[in-house]
């Protein structure tokens, strides 16, 4: 489900511009399934589905599949409408070094919101 990130993020030139100082690889997990997402200067370079033997990533975002499904719905319900809302409910875990995630928080929120049906930003 996360494969579409590449096209949708890279197709938004304003989002890519805001991410121009962001180069990293992070791990995104939905239940037991993981994706490694590589970003170079704001553009998504690759989205690779696991399983991985020994993945390298700067940080990891982990949530249950049902949590991501609600987050990616067209109009997410209260508590599922934002990454910080999931974090508040302890439904999303940020592990590893959260500094890159926090320093580029707007980028990560808007990039993941691209997976909603309308590609809307919350």
């Amino acid at each position: 489900m996360f494969e579409a990130l590449k096209e949708r993020v890279n197709g938004d030139s304003a989002l890519v511009r805001r991410g121009r100082f962001l180069t990293t690889t992070f791990l995104l997990e939905s239940g037991d399934t993981g994706w490694l997402i590589s970003i170079f200067e704001g553009r998504i370079v690759s989205v690779t589905r696991g399983p991985f033997v020994m993945p390298s990533s700067s940080f990891a975002l982990r949530a249950a599949e049902t949590e991501w499904e609600r987050f990616f719905s067209a109009r997410p319900p209260p508590g599922s409408n934002d990454l910080m809302a999931l974090i508040r409910r302890r439904a999303l875990k940020v592990e590893g070094d959260p500094k890159i995630f926090m320093a580029h928080l707007r980028y990560f929120k808007e990039a993941l919101a691209k997976l909603r049906p309308a590609g809307d930003v919350q």
Partner: protein, 281 residues
């Protein structure tokens, strides 16, 4: 063509607070029963721009809002450059009562959002006779930190960007784009460490659990209005407070978030106007 000005007038008030001189920015519009407005953590009086521009309110109310010290166009006190800003319940209370005295606001209606909603509960408990009524927006009794607050103030993370990004999801889904981003812009403009310093009150010092039930709504009517999409002060938390105070009325505002007066004024006023009507004046 004549210039198009809003009816809002802003002035600078000199006031001693906590034994130090302060220069505070104060805005007001309208005439009648005073309505004193308190902005959220890390923001400023611009959040109330719609109230001050709405003739339905200004025809009956003298609407007053001030930027707290360190916020908006108010200065931090001299010596600030060697201090860590941390808002306490005692300071916040003193500041509000001092502004009321300086502006000769006799038993105003108080409306406060978020930290303003929290201090509204403190004031309803400790100074009920000073207010005609109190309206708490997004008012809860306590909030435990759910992220590392140090990220809000460190040189290797942009303060304006992180403060706005932290709160962006608190804006409800129906907010018009212009108002959503105006609301977030205020957060982007906050001074270094100011939002974090306000949250010391919100998440540590201002905890009023176990005391809210002592609020006497016979002495001061208390109305709580909370947005459905607020995950900082959730509807459940507001209802929990309301249910513990006899006579307290609570409304959950569908589709709204944590900044109702700023993110979606049109929808918010549908909830606020009937409350003002009931308070009278």
């Amino acid at each position: 063509m004549s210039p198009r000005f809003e009816p809002i007038v802003g002035r600078y008030l000199h006031l001693d607070l906590f034994d130090r001189p302060h220069r505070l920015y104060v805005e007001e519009a309208g005439q009648g029963m005073p309505l004193l407005c308190l902005h959220t953590a890390g923001s400023d009086t611009r959040q109330y721009r719609a109230l001050m521009n709405d003739a339905r309110i200004t025809a009956r109310h003298r609407v007053v809002a001030f930027d707290m010290p360190w916020h908006g166009k108010s200065s931090p006190p001299a010596g600030w450059h060697n201090e860590e800003y941390r808002l306490t319940s005692a300071q916040y209370t003193t500041m509000i009562l001092s502004v009321m005295a300086a502006l000769e606001l006799e038993r105003p209606i108080l409306i406060g959002c978020s930290i303003g909603g929290r201090i509204a509960l403190h004031l309803a408990l400790e100074h009920p006779d000073r207010f005609r009524a109190i309206i708490g927006l997004q008012a809860g009794a306590h909030l435990d930190p759910y992220y590392d607050l140090d990220f809000l103030h460190r040189p290797d993370v942009h303060g304006g960007e992180i403060c706005a990004a932290i709160v962006s999801g608190l804006v409800g889904p129906d907010a018009p784009e212009q108002e959503r981003w105006e609301t977030l812009w205020h957060y982007m403009q906050g001074g270094p460490g100011v939002f974090k310093g306000d949250l010391f009150f919100y998440k540590v010092d201002g905890d009023i659990r176990g005391r809210v039930e002592k609020i006497d709504t016979n002495r001061c009517p208390l109305y709580l209005l909370s947005g459905e999409y607020d995950y900082s002060c959730t509807p459940e938390e507001t209802l929990h407070v309301a249910n513990s105070i006899p006579g307290c009325e609570a409304t959950i505002m569908r589709g709204l978030g944590h900044f109702p007066m700023s993110e979606n004024p049109e929808q918010f006023l549908k909830h606020l106007l009937p409350v003002l009507e009931r308070i009278g004046g």
